[in-house]
Amino acid sequence: VTPTNSNGGVGLELPGEAVRAAARQWAARHDGGLTDAEQAEFHRWLQESSLHEVAWEEASGIWQSLDRLTVHHAIVRLGKPKPVFRWWWPAVGTAAAALIFGWMVLNRGGDGERAGALPPVPRPEVKALPQANPAGVDAPAKASARPPQPRPASAANFSMVEARGSIQRLSDGSTVYLKPGAQFVERFTPQFRSVDLVVGEAMFDVVGGADERLFVISAGDLKRNVAVTIATRSALLSVDIQSDVVETRVVTGQATIGPSQMAQAATRLGLESKGTITEAGLIARVQYPSNIDSEAHVMPLGAAEYAEILAWKRTLETTLHQKVSDAR
C-alpha cells in the first residue's frame, strides 16, 4: 500500500519505504560511479515503475542538497571530531621513504653525466610523488634493504653547503621546496588546493592570481586530527614539523594558521577566527600534536632566519633549475 499525494485533485502516487530504501542505495552506488552494465540495470529499475523514479528523485535530491554544505558550514559546527582515522601512516610513510631512497640510489648513475657542470655539492633531487614513481616501484627489494633517510632535527643544523632537497611543481603553478626527508602529498580538490605535509620541512611558494581556491597545507598527522593547518591564497612560507611544535615562517603574503581539523574547516570557511592570521615577517608556532585548544604563538621572524630561508630557496632553485626543466 503506497500513500498518495493528492493536491488540487491531482494525484501523485508516493513510494513506500522499501522502494525509497532501494532508491537511496542507487543514489549511493550512482555517486561512486556505475559501470555500463550497472547503468543499464539502474535504468531498467527506473523504468520499472514511476514509484522508482519518484523515489530516485527524492534520494538523489537530498544527496545533492548535501553538496551545498560543502563550503558553508559543514565541519565548523560538527563539534569536536572524534578520532575515527587509524594509524597506518607511519608504515606507508616509511615504505614511501624507502621507495624514494631506492629510486634516488638508482638514479644517481644517470645524474653523473651532468654533474660536472654543477658545483661539487651533493646533488638535490627532483622527485615525483611517491605513487607516481616507476623506478622506485621497480626496485622494492633494493629499497627495503636501506634505512629511511634521516631528517635534520631543526633548521639550525641545516647547512647550505650540504644542500639537498627537491622541488615539486604543483598543477596550479605553485612550488614546493622540500628539505631532505620531507614528504608531502598533493590532493587538490575542485574547492581547495590541499596538500599534506606528512613529515619534515618544506617551503611553499603559493601563487594566487587566477586560481581562487584557498591553498590549504595540513601539516602533521591528519588521520588523528592532530594536524596544524595553514591556509593562504598567496604567500611564500616555510612549514617545519618538529617533535613538539609546527613552525610556520611567513616570508611574503599572509596565512591563517591553527590547529587540527576544526581550525582547518574554520580557516577554509573564514567563518571563525580559530586560526591566527600571520603576516609576512612573522613566525607562528603551534604546539604539536595539536588539539582543539592549541593556539598559534606568533613572533617576529629573525633577520638571520629570514635570510636563511631565502638563501635556501635560491640555492635549490639554482641547483635544480636544470632538473626542473627536465622534469617538466
Binding site: P3, T4, N5, S6, N7, G8, G9, V10, L12, E13, L14, P15, E17, R20, A21, R24, Q25, A27, A28, D31, G32, G33, H43, L46, Q47, S49, S50, E53, V54, E57, E58, A59, G61, I62, W63, S65, L66, R68, L69, T70, H72, H73, A74, I75, R77, L78, G79, K82, V84, F85, R86, W88, R187, T189, P190, Q191, S194, K223, G270, L271
Partner: protein, 194 residues
Amino acid sequence: VEDPAPQSNEARSSPRAELDSWFRNEVQPHETELRRFLAGYAPAEDIDDLVQETYVRLLRSRGQRPLFHLRAMLLAIGRNAALDLFRRRRTVSITAVGEIEALDVFDSGPGAPEIVSLRQENLLLEDAIRDLPDRCRAVLILRRIEGLSHREIADRLQISVKTVEAQITKAIQRCTAHLDKHGAMPGSWTKGAK
C-alpha cells in the same frame, strides 16, 4: 498507468529543434495538471516560478539520464521545488536580524535574504549531519568536502567500498528523516499529503 517515455541517446543529444518538440509534445501537455498539483503546496503567486523551476530541473535530469515516467517525474520534481521553497520561507522567518550582520564573510554572491535562507536551510542539514554516527559522518565529509572517491575513502578509513556505499545510503536516509521530523518536508513522503 502511464506509458514509459524513454528517449533514445540520439534524442537526448538532439539539437534545439528536437528539444523543443520533445518539450511541446511530451512535457507541456502535463502543465495544467502540474499547476493544479502545485496549487496544493504553494500560494498562487509562486506557481509560475515553481513551474519554471520544475522545467529547469527536469531538463537538468534529462541531460543526465533517460526519463521514463514523465508525468510522475514532473509532479515529483515540482513537489520537491515547492518543498525547497517552503523550507527557505520557513527558515527565513525564524532568522534573527543579528545573524544577517554576521554574514559579512560572504562578501560576494547572492543577496542577504537568499544567503540567510540558504544558511538556515543548511543549519537543518548540519544538525542532521552532526547526529550521524562517526563513521557515517566521516564518509560524508570525505566525500562531500574533501572530494575523495569511494575508493580513496575506503583506503583512508580502512573499510570496503561496499561499506562506503552503505554509509552514504545511511547518510541520505538519516538526513531525509531529519528534514521530515523537523517539518521541513510538509506533507512528507511518509505521512502523505499535508
